[in-house]
């Protein structure tokens, strides 16, 4: 039963009911209602509990700036959303709405005990209350605070909805479709501009939707609006409703979030829920209007206390009377119009309490005509009513003294503390603001973008002014686009003009310290908190904000910032601009992660690179691991094997006979040109001039700072052609670095680089039987030790495919790496598997590759190095060309810090107990008995079980590590401190005998 729906009022069809539930109770609303308007139609104001004190709260406004009426909504499985603004969410059939931030029921919240002990929760209470004893923090304070903190619950199921992204280039983007925005769009579109007009509401019209009595160009406001929208459509203007401009970025790049289906009873199958528009506009017009400010007085947060403009909107747009006996408290003429509209709709206005001495004469006449009592120079000293306001205490103020109070009975309080120009988006662009003394408001000053501001956003008031300004700005923008344009301002009758004043908290009688006058409703910040912050030393508004959390809730202080500033500047004793304004940041209103992510989720979040041999690995049950963007075979478990068992088997099989490994992900760069050898000499630490054609060499790449960046085997295929391999993850970085030097430092060198990573599939064969497996498949190259020794490269044919064949080893065994064009990779692999059958050839993955290389002490760049490791630290001094005059990073190797004693060096670690595996990343200490915190002398970089050694082993970077060889160090682990002996890193076949076959 809608007790407060007024027949004949409202914008939308009063027909067909829309059913929804609130805290399990069934309600009916009208098509076009928001949750808030539908509940208010039933006389329900209590919609939530406040964040800190759990005070009962109802809606304050009728838009997205709502701080109080935040609810949980559910549209079915996975479609649960906390903190939905009841004042913005449109009803849809079957919507489930629940109140949040309560224990027990909304009417009786156990946590409301916080309100009784509110002196404990003053500004900065965290810093003061939970200091001691220190041990209480982990066990008592934090768990309790965590449980109590936060608004709403996080969703616990994956979001099943789709979200879309779209790009748009437009000549003129108009943000806000109130009178100023409409007039601007009309003027520009009439001049021939290509215009996009957006508005966050379901309907365009802005304040006109709440003021039907205004007459524009001889037509009632809503008729003019309908004609204006029809003309915009005829002119081809792109109009987007339910579309919020969330952020304004460089060069007129604006993010728009469009809500597409949340208001539909049955969204079309597969339709996106929201669409993020990435708009690039030549010009932008901000016509976002102004936000009404609350007044700050004791008990201004009770359900039933709301902004006067909101009450006017609920009445005129939704046909809902928010109360039968409203009392108005105001410092601006605009609230009088709200009072008149409510009175004309049948409400009995209890009184208009004006803080000012002299309201506008026009509104006073109108009030008298309606028989409404107006109390000027009055203050509000308090309100009463637990779950709904019941009365108001008002008192005259004279010469700063508060006189005798009287109580006014009412069932709602409509307040207006003036209007704040909405300049959030303008602030995103680093546009500067200027304090206007006359308006007590920040107005736009210098713009950093090609943008204009029209209407109430720059402090203008009244429909005539907004429409004229919009038309003028629309013409200005059109001319800036090179179009001929003439302004035609509409004629406005029955305009609702007015002025107002801005106040700090209202004067009160009694102890101001006991008053609960709220500034920020969402974060429960009172005027007293702000004064306390100043008293405790905060001087800048940025400090006051962080100390009190004023304006730090999800509404970004849309209602509270200016009131907070007025109080702080009064307390500091400086003018508001000297105390400052906090910075607004995107997004303008809370925005779903889904809208930002768009299509980039699940499989589309990131590409997965796969090698040509990947399908074989998948078919043979490989476990995979991600390596940069690649998916690589990690190990190949047989039935019943875990990773350790599989890796131990793969290691033993490779060292015992032959293993096969997909190395296709290795980065490959072709370096070609007459100056290729000179280029290689300058880039890599090693000497390349004397490397013969058909020979290969381990190459080490440093940064200019002397630290290891990358490594890989490099083969010389011709006088002017090198086949460079890089680490899997480093391929793009190395190419970028090489290009940088070629293009900008040595443009005279005749050398060209080509990334060939994906052109070659690479298969590594390792083990004593590797040659026997390979030999029958090779044509055009003798594989004997004499003809093709270790570190050779040849172009030949393998399994019928053209190949670049390397004899190299990352395992310490006889090894070959066969590169064939990628499309033949799988066929090569299968041919080798077939040929290897008689040797029990064993496919192995990256884990076995890591173990086998570590047994030989070969480093993995990025695992055993971390960007602060020099060649000498890693034991790779041998890779530096001693006679070279220069290479990248060479000069740095002589810097004092890089040759200093005590640098961390790569060493082996053998735990006392071979069954103990050290964790990679574990810290190393010299003396386990030392006092805490211990001095850490290094850390474990690699740690594995070795089938060949029959025990665990590790590598570590340890200060002065090579001098500690044979001595013991200690590694603290969760199971206790482990003793380990420092060794060399050549754990297996240190003489390299196994390569000599």
């Amino acid at each position: 039963m809608s007790t407060h729906r007024i027949a004949g009022k409202g914008r939308f069809d009063h027909g067909g009911p829309v059913r929804f539930t609130f805290d399990g109770k069934r309600y009916e609303g009208r098509r076009g209602d928001t949750i808030a308007s539908a509940l208010l139609a039933h006389g329900v104001h209590l919609m939530g509990r406040s964040f800190k004190y759990h005070r009962p709260r109802g809606p304050v406004c009728a838009g997205t700036e709502e701080p109080n009426a935040l609810v949980e909504t559910s549209r079915g499985k996975g479609r649960f959303e906390p903190n939905t603004r009841a004042t913005a969410q449109e009803l849809r059939e079957g919507l489930e709405v629940r109140s949040q931030n309560r224990i027990g029921s909304l009417a009786f919240d156990l946590q409301a005990v916080n309100d009784l002990v509110h002196p404990l929760f003053s500004a900065g209470f965290y810093y003061k209350t939970f200091m001691w004893p220190r041990s209480f923090w982990d066990r008592v304070y934090e768990p309790v605070i965590r449980r109590a903190a936060g608004l709403g619950r996080a969703p616990d199921a994956p979001d099943p909805d789709r979200y879309a992204h779209r790009n748009l280039h437009t000549e003129l983007l108009v943000i806000g479709a109130g009178p100023a925005g409409l007039a601007a769009a009309l003027a520009a579109a009439r001049a021939g501009a290509e215009v996009t007009l957006v508005d966050e509401h379901a309907e365009m019209g802005g304040a006109l939707l709440s003021d039907p009595d205004v007459v524009i160009d001889g037509k009632p406001a809503w008729d003019w609006l309908a004609a204006a929208l029809a003309e915009l459509d005829r002119l081809g203007v792109r109009r987007l409703t339910r579309t919020t401009a969330i952020g304004y970025y460089h060069q007129n790049f604006v993010g728009l979030c469009q809500k597409l289906t949340d208001h539909l009873d049955e969204p079309p199958e597969g339709a996106p829920r929201e669409r993020m528009w990435h708009v690039r506009a030549v010009r932008v017009i901000l016509a976002q209007g102004a936000l009404e400010k609350p007044l700050v007085f004791d008990g201004n947060d009770r359900p039933g206390v709301m902004l006067a403009g909101a009450a006017q909107t609920y009445l005129n747009r939704y046909g809902v009377l928010v109360g039968d006996t409203p009392a108005i408290v105001t410092s601006h003429d605009s609230a009088y119009h709200a009072a008149f509209d409510l009175a004309d709709a049948g409400a009995k206005v209890a009184a208009i309490v004006d803080v000012r001495a002299a309201p506008g004469e026009g509104v006073l006449v109108e009030a008298r005509r309606r028989g409404i009592e107006v109390l000027t120079s009055h203050t509000v000293t308090g309100t009463n009513g637990r779950l709904r306001v019941k009365s108001l205490r008002v008192a005259p103020v004279s010469g700063g003294r508060v006189g005798a109070a009287r109580t006014i009975a009412c069932d709602c309080v409509l307040m207006c503390g003036g209007w704040t120009p909405s300049l959030h988006l303008f602030s995103h662009t680093k546009g500067t603001l200027k304090w206007d003394e006359a308006l007590d408001a920040f107005l736009p000053d210098r713009s950093a973008e090609e943008c204009h501001i029209a209407g109430a956003g720059r402090g203008l008031w009244g429909y005539g002014a907004a429409l004229a300004d919009g038309a003028e700005i629309g013409v200005t923008a059109a001319r800036a686009l090179g179009l001929d344009a003439e302004a035609a301002a509409p004629v406005v009758e029955r305009d609702r003009t007015g002025t107002g004043e801005t106040f700090k908290e209202l004067p009160t009688d009694g102890d101001a310290g006991r008053k609960r006058a709220f500034v920020d409703f969402q974060n429960d910040v009172t005027a007293k908190d702000i004064r306390l912050a100043v008293k405790e030393g905060m001087r800048s508004i940025e400090h006051v904000k962080r100390y009190t959390t004023n304006g730090m809730a999800t509404d970004q202080g849309k209602m509270s910032n200016v009131n907070g500033l007025m109080i702080a500047s009064d307390a500091v004793g400086k003018a508001p601009p000297q105390v400052g304004l906090t910075t607004f940041r995107p997004p303008y209103t809370p925005t779903t992660f889904g809208a930002f992510a768009g299509y980039h989720r699940g499989r589309h979040f990131e590409v997965t690179r796969r090698t040509p041999i990947d399908p074989w690995a998948e078919a043979h049950g490989a476990a995979f691991e991600p390596v940069s963007l690649w998916r690589r075979a990690w190990y190949f478990p047989k039935a019943g094997e875990d990773m350790d068992a599989a890796v131990a088997r793969e290691c033993a099989a490779t060292r015992g006979s032959v293993g096969i490994f997909d190395a296709s992900t290795l980065g490959k760069i072709e370096v070609q040109g007459p100056d290729a050898v000179e280029f290689m000499n300058r880039m890599y630490t090693n000497p390349w001039t004397k490397l013969g054609i058909g020979r290969a060499r381990y190459g080490l790449l440093l940064g200019e700072d002397g630290y290891i960046r990358d490594d890989g085997v490099i083969g010389r295929l011709g006088e002017d052609l090198f086949h460079v391999t890089t680490t899997t993850g480093g391929a793009a970085r190395v190419l970028n670095m090489m290009e940088d030097y070629i293009q900008t430092e040595w443009p005279d060198l005749k050398v060209w680089l080509t990334s060939t990573t994906e052109q070659w599939a690479t298969v590594a064969l390792n083990g004593p039987n590797a040659r026997r497996v390979l030999e029958p498949l090779v044509e055009g190259q003798d594989l004997s030790a004499e003809a093709f020794p270790h570190m050779s490269v040849a172009e030949c044919t393998v399994a019928g495919f053209p190949a670049r064949l390397f004899r190299i080893s990352f395992t310490g065994e006889l090894g070959f790496e066969i590169n064939v064009p990628a499309r033949h990779g799988l066929a090569l692999w299968e041919a080798l598997m077939k040929e290897g059958e008689r040797y029990d050839i064993c496919p192995y993955g990256t884990e076995t590759m890591h173990v086998l290389r570590a047994e030989k002490g070969f480093i993995i760049v990025g695992q055993d190095t971390d960007g602060t490791v020099t060649p000498d630290d890693a034991g790779l001094s041998w890779a530096i060309g001693k006679k070279k005059a220069d290479f990248v990073g060479m000069r740095s190797l002589r810097r004092p810090d890089l040759v200093a004693e005590g640098r961390k060096q790569l060493v082996g670690l053998m735990t006392e107990d071979g069954d103990v595996k050290l964790d990679e990343g574990a810290q190393v200490v010299a003396d386990p008995e030392q006092a805490l915190p211990m001095k850490m002398i290094g850390h474990v970089t690699s740690s594995y079980y070795s089938a060949a050694l029959g025990r665990h082993f590790a590598m570590a970077l340890v200060e002065g590590g090579r001098d500690l060889e044979g001595r013991d160090v200690f590694v603290p682990t969760p199971e206790g401190i482990r003793r380990a002996t420092v060794t060399t890193t050549a754990f297996y076949d240190p003489a390299g005998e196994r390569l000599k076959v």
Binding site: H250, Q251, E739, D740, Q743, T744, D886, M890, S892
Partner: protein, 109 residues
């Protein structure tokens, strides 16, 4: 997202196609081994970091892949100019590679 003009492609394109590459006109010394530790450290680590117009390098990495130079205001992020590697900084008489130093102020004015 910034719009950046690639002086090689002669097109103005979204920032996502480009990668930043540090300060411009910091030439690698011809003979690093001849430098003192301090001189080398200055080349390695010391950058101008101005508040205002900054000469810097960008790479059109997802386009022509060329490195080029740009002047960008570090306060507003606005690009003042872009020009090819090896060309002198616009509005300065210094040749490419000369230290920016005082010329930075000239360009900022």
């Amino acid at each position: 997202m910034l719009l950046i003009h690639c002086p090689y492609c002669d097109e103005t394109l979204p920032e996502a196609e480009f990668a930043y590459a540090g300060e411009a006109h910091v030439d690698r010394p011809a003979d690093p081994m001849a430098l003192s530790d301090d001189e080398w450290a200055a080349f390695l680590f010391i950058r101008s970091n101005p508040k205002g117009v900054h000469a810097e390098r960008w790479r059109h990495v997802h386009g022509c892949a060329r490195f080029f130079n740009a002047e960008r205001d570090t306060v507003t992020d606005a690009f003042v100019s872009t020009y090819r590697a090896g060309e002198p900084r616009p509005g300065t008489k210094c040749s490419a590679g000369a230290p920016a130093g005082d010329d930075m102020k000239v360009a900022a004015e």
